[in-house]
Symmetry: C2
Subunit: 340 residues, 2 copies
Amino acid sequence: MPAKASKVTIADIAAEAGVSVPTVSKVMNGRSDVAPDTRQRVEEIIRRHGYQRRTDERYRKSNLLELMFHELESAWALEIIRGVERVAGENGMAVVLSESQGRLRPGQSWLENVLARRPVGVIAVFSDLSADQLAKLRARDIPVVVVDPVGEPTAETHSVGATNWQGGLTATRHLIELGHRRIAMIGGPQHVLCSRARVDGYRAALETAGLTVDPELVRHGDFHVEAGYKQLLPLLSLEDRPTAVFAGSDLQAVGVYEAARAAGLRIPEDLSVVGFDDLPVARWVGPPLTTVRQPLQEMAAAGARMAITLAGSGDVEHHRVELATSLVVRSSTAAYSGGR
Amino acid sequence: MPAKASKVTIADIAAEAGVSVPTVSKVMNGRSDVAPDTRQRVEEIIRRHGYQRRTDERYRKSNLLELMFHELESAWALEIIRGVERVAGENGMAVVLSESQGRLRPGQSWLENVLARRPVGVIAVFSDLSADQLAKLRARDIPVVVVDPVGEPTAETHSVGATNWQGGLTATRHLIELGHRRIAMIGGPQHVLCSRARVDGYRAALETAGLTVDPELVRHGDFHVEAGYKQLLPLLSLEDRPTAVFAGSDLQAVGVYEAARAAGLRIPEDLSVVGFDDLPVARWVGPPLTTVRQPLQEMAAAGARMAITLAGSGDVEHHRVELATSLVVRSSTAAYSGGR
């Protein structure tokens, strides 16, 4: 990080960039009526000098935290919202919620609106901001914290996640210890890092137990109910069908329940099922679901606190925090019975 | 509504109130350093004159919609958020989310923060703003729309709800048509109007079918899972136990499922269950839940549109809109079998 040199003025930046002072102001306020190369040059200079904004009315930050989802689809999102809302409340801040309508990368209008709102910080959930978007936010001292990043987290991105690999390992070991050998895995989207980690944990559990991974039993969904149903159903008609499934998410586990019901299989007598997340629904399905608890509220709260800290002192101890997952054993898993 | 007289100035208001111009400004900006009686007098004059604010920078509204919950507890809240988020997106606005931590009436700091943010409008979910809070918002031309109001909606309050009475009637008639006579009802909190309407619909269905309402079978919870469990369980050990339950909400129905399981009763063979809401969980429980669909997303969207319209032209056709509920028959209800 560059040293902060608070003596640099907007006039200095304008002179160095060869533009007028109003142009620098426009860039700083996120206005779109600036030529892209001019904007880039000005942002680069602002960043290099670590320009500290005057705290007059026009540049003062609001007391808003931006929370951005790529989709507001499941109870998963509500847990995240509650975690951020809690920390915002403790700090006298309010939460602005936005959704990038299923796209992993939010559009330009989202960014312009965020810059105009001058939030304390941005918490991006399961989303993939571009380098350009990150640079624009950084140029205005708006820290970004990503919860469960999709791409490889770089040293420049602050992020919070859960120990997904460990969770996948624990879930699969639980099934192995119950005597299961044919264990199916339904992951999330292949490009999503948290899903990869869960699948890798599954593989590690099998391989360290001396079992081989059957590629036929490893499928990928999108973490939602329908995917669990659709991915499991064909496996149930295999000659040597799986006797247990690690469903990758609680919602996929709900779909797995439906597929088992459709195939006339009882849970856990004929099929053991483990989920991931520990959403409220895990307790409500019949039978209650054994799952890997991911502390979503706490992860979101940690992300919000990180953003507030970065906006204040500007420094946090770690760029990446992973909170621990834990296995919650309920009634959807049972010892392998040997037959069908 | 008073006629708008756009020629009234801040100076006129200050003169009439016997205060300085800066004091009027403070009141209009929601600052707290004004004596309560002064504030009240100024607000009253502003309201009476229908003062139209100049649209300069200091008084301009933000593009924020305020969405206020008394609790962010269930998937219910997520449906509401999605509806408001959708309309906000269509109008280039962003949503600020806040929660009054379980209190039905949000506190003073919430109001001050809202006034400082100058939102387009406020959508209050299942909450009960005080007359004073409503007056303060009205004095600043910030419209308030209540979704599912707790108290009696007055002509001055704009609100959106569902046809709760009709929904309760339909749910109970469905059970009567299946041959059930001992039908229990678990309502929400007694003071909550939408819950009263559902219970009244239940009574109306029984009475118009020539059946008497047994007060012993009418219980009240708080719409959450645990309440369904706790309120139903004692009824199952009655000599003449109910053979069907209208659970008042989907989450209470989930609790009813647990109570039935604990008592060794099968659904629907031994006990028929109807929910209310049609949350995603209704499809996922085993067996899938027969329920009354309440169009939560559409209700929230209608509330958001109403607030935006009020902020613009200042007028809507109806103060109160009720969207229709509908019965969704799944697998948790069956014909009365005569025995146990």
